[in-house]
């Protein structure tokens, strides 16, 4: 019992020393607290697939009441801005190529006559596919405006309405705002970088400066040294995650549907795994430079192949299996589901157990390597 208490006291002392080392300097204190919050704000605005401003040009060869009615639908939507009325088909290329218009809508000469004759008319829509995702979203908007025109015009001119109407709704994010999806995902992403680096560096720095040997001649056991190195990083990570969470709720006002207890339980598991990987890196690396390089080599694929920006389900199968070792993948799923859907711990089991396995394996591996190196 007393030995346990002693051990605990030693861990607390080491944690305190580590925290002092990181936080005593104002610049390093700021560099841990400011970036996640600032990044969450800027990226929260920038990281969106939604379109609220689409430039388009028109080649109206019909100049009829019907074509004007169709175009009024676009102009009145608040999303489309008409940048030009083209005269010749040859002008289309110059507007698209130079990125002056994302879309060009071409209405043929006999548009109104065909409509009145009941044969139906075609309208050409040309989109700049250099960013095919944006183009696809813009095409979707035009499609729904044309659908609206069809039901208005068709109703007035005695067309039979389409037999089926699709009534769609989106759950958990009714207005389909990318931001609702992206910012909860950033809670984990923005904390990963510095948490992992901090851990990886802390041991490497001591080793390079020779203070690690001094630490080894103290009564600390390898397990205690490791806990003392892990706890400060977990603490810093928790604070960073809370900062991003606050930005999501207070600045962007995204409604939080879940329980904080569940969210923090998931985050703890994630931070344990991230710190475990960081410790493993620092156990493998011989110098600070190596530790830094290795952790960067891990952080980049972790953050890009995590499902934050592009869905995991669009990846090839072999890569999906490979992402099983990515702790961020589970963290993003947890934060999103708790945040938007209010998912409970039971639904999150499929994310929690891989994190637990990752944490256990990396922490065990790191402690094995530390004790091995000591002898």
């Amino acid at each position: 019992m007393i030995r346990l208490l002693d051990s605990l006291l030693r861990i607390v002392a080491l944690t305190r020393k580590e925290l002092l080392a990181v936080l005593k300097d104002k610049r390093s204190r700021m560099s841990l607290l400011i970036p996640p919050v600032v990044q969450a704000m800027i990226f929260g605005y920038a990281a969106t697939y939604d379109l609220n401003h689409v430039t388009y040009a028109v080649l109206d060869q019909d100049h009829s009441a019907a074509s004007r009615q169709l175009l009024a639908g676009l102009d009145g939507s608040g999303v489309f801005e008409r940048v030009a009325d083209l005269q010749r088909p040859a002008d289309i290329a110059s507007y698209i190529d130079a990125r002056r218009a994302l879309l060009v809508l071409q209405v043929n000469q006999n548009f109104e006559r065909q409509l009145l004759a009941g044969t139906g008319a075609n309208v050409q829509l040309i989109a700049d596919g250099r960013n095919s995702n944006t183009a696809g979203t813009a095409i979707g908007y035009v499609t729904s405006i044309v659908e609206q025109f069809n039901s208005d015009w068709g109703g007035e001119h005695g067309w039979t309405a389409a037999p089926i109407k699709v009534v769609d709704r989106a759950w958990y994010n009714p207005n389909l705002e990318t931001r609702w999806f992206m910012i909860p995902g950033m809670i984990g992403t923005l904390t990963l970088i510095q948490t992992m680096m901090l851990t990886a560096m802390s041991v490497a720095r001591e080793r390079e400066q020779g203070t690690f040997d001094q630490l080894l001649v103290t009564p600390f056991r390898p397990f205690e040294i490791m806990a003392g190195k892990a706890l400060p990083s977990i603490l810093v990570g928790t604070i960073q995650a809370s900062g991003v969470l606050l930005v999501a709720q207070l600045w962007f006002r995204i409604p939080f549907a879940g329980s904080y207890l569940t969210l923090y339980a998931g985050l703890m598991m994630f931070l344990l795994a991230a710190v475990g990987i960081g410790l493993l890196v620092s156990a493998v690396a011989a110098t600070m430079q190596q530790a830094m390089l290795y952790s960067m080599l891990l952080i980049m694929p972790f953050s890009l192949l995590s499902g934050l920006t592009t869905p995991l389900s669009s990846m090839p199968r072999w890569l999906q299996y490979l992402t099983a070792i990515n702790p961020l993948r589970y963290a993003i799923d947890i934060t999103r589901r708790v945040y938007l859907e209010g998912a409970g711990l039971f639904l999150l089991l499929s994310d929690l157990w891989p994190l637990a396995v990752l944490a256990a394996l990396t922490l065990w591996g790191a402690s094995w390597m530390f004790s091995h190196r000591m002898q």
Binding site: D50, L70, G129, S132, A170, M296
Partner: protein, 375 residues
């Protein structure tokens, strides 16, 4: 004349020394050649916004020939992987477990409503991933539209809707998202290795004290910069060549512009990326802080704010102003245009000029930073 001659000799000696250092240091070859290759492969395969085989629940509350025919449309489509069920409860549970991305509900009395012309199809998508949700909505509308058209043709009608939209996606007819993601990835990779190469090198020289040794020789600060930059410039170009080769041969992205335009723009960008690294490292002089700063000011903004993934047109004005300060923004516009659209001078010239101005400013800036640190 003699001064000029000896200047050239000094630069040559420095380049020679630096080249030796590059060749003998496996870490810089790893960053310059191995890293870009791994990254472009991993991300080229891993990042995709294409949606296919979407698991959806199809709830048929009352089977009828019309309903089954509609379901057959979903089953035959490569976009869907439908799971049939009878009750809404079942489907909701699957949606909550993320086993399906959406629910299509065919209500009771469907066939009677179809013949009356007022049938409704309920579509519920999981709105979490808004972009994916929008794509799925589009697919479902398309499938229902195809079904309506078939019904109408069977009924002998000439046209089903007044206006039908014919869309064409220029530069990317097949709507393949890697066409726009891979050129963007090249930007990301070049940003990273350009920054890392010089950050690590200069900061290391300061940290080890060898910079002072260099500075007491007759070599001028501008000459040191030139000598440092040239070998890494060539190394980064090797990495760039590997990226372009994988883009065209592995990911089949067309290169429609001229090769010399691509190369010229990329050389400018590599200079800018190296310059940022130089500036940071001669300012901070600490490998650890310098590399973290490089990661924060180059990699993350290039990922989030360059237009590589997220279209900049919809971001608020303040964020757009920030992006104008980012070199990656201009390079993304250049690469997407040169790869997909061809030699569009109205895009190429202004963006290249912006990069050239930045390269010049960075060269002057790092020289000034170096001079100042002499005192």
């Amino acid at each position: 004349m003699i001064a000029w001659h000896s200047k050239l000799r000094r630069i040559r000696a420095l380049v020679w020394k630096e080249t030796h250092q590059v060749v003998r240091d496996p870490s810089s070859v790893a960053i310059g050649v191995v890293l870009p290759l791994i990254l472009i492969l991993l991300f080229g395969y891993g990042l995709s916004l294409d949606v296919s085989n979407v698991p959806i629940a199809v709830v048929i509350e009352e089977p009828s020939p019309e309903a089954m025919e509609l379901v057959a449309g979903f089953q035959l489509s490569p976009y869907f992987h439908p799971r049939l069920m009878r009750t809404m409860r079942q489907a909701q549970q699957l949606l909550l477990e993320h086993s399906v991305d959406g629910i299509v509900r065919i209500g009771p009395d469907f066939s009677r409503h179809v013949s009356a012309g007022d049938a409704e199809l309920q579509l519920i998508v999981h709105g979490g991933d808004a972009n994916r949700a929008r794509i799925i909505q589009g697919y479902v509308r398309g499938a229902v539209g195809a079904w309506s058209a078939r019904q109408a043709v069977q009924g002998g009608a000439a046209a089903t809707v007044p206006v039908s939209l014919q869309t064409r996606l220029w530069f990317n007819e097949a709507d393949n998202s890697s066409y726009f993601l891979v050129p963007g990835l090249v930007v990301l990779v070049m940003t990273l290795i350009g920054g890392l190469l010089t950050t690590m090198v200069m900061a290391r020289e300061w940290e080890r004290g060898t910079m002072e040794a260099l500075l007491v020789t007759p070599v001028r600060s501008g000459e040191i910069l030139l000598g440092k930059t040239l070998p890494y410039f060539l190394l980064a170009l090797v990495g760039f060549a590997l990226c372009v080769l994988s883009a065209t041969y592995l990911f089949h992205v067309p290169l429609r512009g001229a090769l010399w335009v691509l190369l010229g723009a990329s050389m400018l960008y590599v200079l800018v990326a190296l310059g940022i690294g130089l500036l940071i490292s001669s300012w901070v002089k600490n490998q650890l802080v310098a590399s973290q700063l490089t990661m924060l000011v180059t990699f993350m903004p290039a990922f989030m704010l360059s237009g590589f993934l997220f279209d900049l047109r919809s971001t608020p004005l303040v964020v757009q102003l920030i992006t104008y300060a980012l070199p990656a923004r201009y390079y993304v516009a250049l690469l997407q245009t040169v790869f997909l659209a061809g030699n569009v001078w109205s895009v190429i010239v202004p963006n290249t000029l912006a990069l050239a101005a930045m390269a010049g400013a960075l060269a002057l800036g790092s020289r000034a930073a170096m001079r100042k640190s002499l005192e």
